[in-house]
Assembly symmetry: C2
Homo-oligomer: 254 residues x 2
């Protein structure tokens, strides 16, 4: 039940500039998403030019969720990317390395032209698992970051509108009773360690709903592939409308 990956994470706790003012947890940015622009304004429209806002003040009031992690593909990071493959929908640009940050990450790097993409997600409460399932998982699973786990995968997934329109009981029945998502994963514990990050309810518009990071020993990669094959053949996966499979090797310190 730890909230942080146990390895390959750079924290930036030295940067403490939160002023603790009356404006709680405020992020400022532009009103920019295509879907927003497409919907007709309701009520009166506000047209103030926000570019005039004092940026030092903008930064000062921004506090970051401690469960947020950023996965940035570019030229730096502890993981060497060996392949980027679209399983369904649009792929992501190739990248040489993956850098995992707690929080929003290193802004300089994230914005550098070397960074091809930055995906963010938060660890959160369980959405489908029951107490008996949870106890089996906890008893059998291994943490991320084992010394032997020098291979890894980051698999971002988006599910369709039809999935999200379902009620909780319908999604649970599809997820487990029909597709055995938890049971299948259990067959590969403790060899395959994993952590799930949620992106759908961030305030920024994210290209995926979930990110899952897996790590394992190189000799267990065929096992990992078998697990994915089984999951991808379930009815739950018919609701996945975008999936990218990014494989990595741990960079050996030189």
């Amino acid at each position: 039940m730890t909230e942080r990956p146990q390895d390959s994470v750079n924290t930036n706790s030295s940067r403490r500039r939160f002023l603790g003012g009356g404006v709680a947890g405020l992020v400022v940015g532009l009103q920019t998403s295509a879907s927003l622009a497409a919907s007709p304004p309701e009520g009166k429209s506000s047209t103030t030019n926000i570019s005039a806002v004092d940026q030092s003040k903008v930064e000062a009031v921004h506090a970051v969720n401690s469960r947020l992690f950023s996965f940035c593909g570019g030229l730096t990071g502890d993981w060497m990317v060996t392949s980027v493959r679209a399983i369904c929908g649009e792929t992501l640009p190739d990248a040489e390395r993956l850098h995992i940050h707690q929080g929003l990450g290193n802004a300089h790097e994230a914005l550098s032209s070397d960074t091809k993409w930055c995906l963010r997600g938060v660890t959160s409460n369980d959405r489908y698992v029951t107490r008996p399932e949870k106890e089996l998982l906890v008893a059998k699973q291994a943490p991320l970051g084992r010394a032997t786990a020098t291979h890894a995968a980051l698999i971002p997934i988006r599910k369709s509108a039809a999935w999200w329109a379902m009620t909780q009981d319908e999604r649970r029945a599809l997820f487990e009773e029909e597709s055995q998502h938890i049971k299948i994963g259990m067959d590969y514990l403790p060899a395959i360690a994993r952590r799930l990050y949620h992106c759908r309810d961030l305030e920024s518009k994210e290209p995926f709903d979930f990110l899952t990071f897996f790590d394992f020993a190189p000799s267990d990669e065929p096992l990992f592939d078998r697990m994915l094959e089984r999951l991808r053949s379930t009815r739950e996966w018919s609701f996945v409308d975008r999936e990218v499979d990014i494989r990595m090797k741990k960079v050996t310190p030189t």
Copy 2:
């Protein structure tokens, strides 16, 4: 199943500055939360000074979730605040008006010294409701923004760590089978209209887990109070560790 409040919302769809570059949905800010600062760094720490980042570039890549809404207490807005009362935990500062924005809202206003607080949340998929319950709700409920609904309440709530540590089946059993949260709410439909916003999984650290906005005719306010009394006496509410009750009247155009 509409995603937007039907009244008192200012959209800002005229501001289309998203450049659609390779860096997907990136927000840049400071690594500032107290809880982050309190946790010991793991791995190597990054110390780049991000204040040197070009702010125009920072803004350009920020795309906003179209399900995000901001509720700002200050001097402007369509709702006149009549009371701000802590039910549990710390209160919020008094404010004269409430301004509801789609997206991050009007940054100028949100950052002005007149703004006392800004709470944000996203509409999202159902977390507990079953299909039969959903059908009863949809058949009986009214939308926000009826002409007669000139009184309103915004009730931000935070639940305890013990709540979030429960598995889905445990939370559902407490929420409905034991506390009858859905059934109680149903007794007040269609008089009391409501919409729920989720804050716990935003990338910024929010002071609450949920915001609920309710509107109703002035003559139905005693009914609304009765509903809250019933909900607050349930075992589910023993997991609420902060709750503020903000009452409002619609501002009559002059």
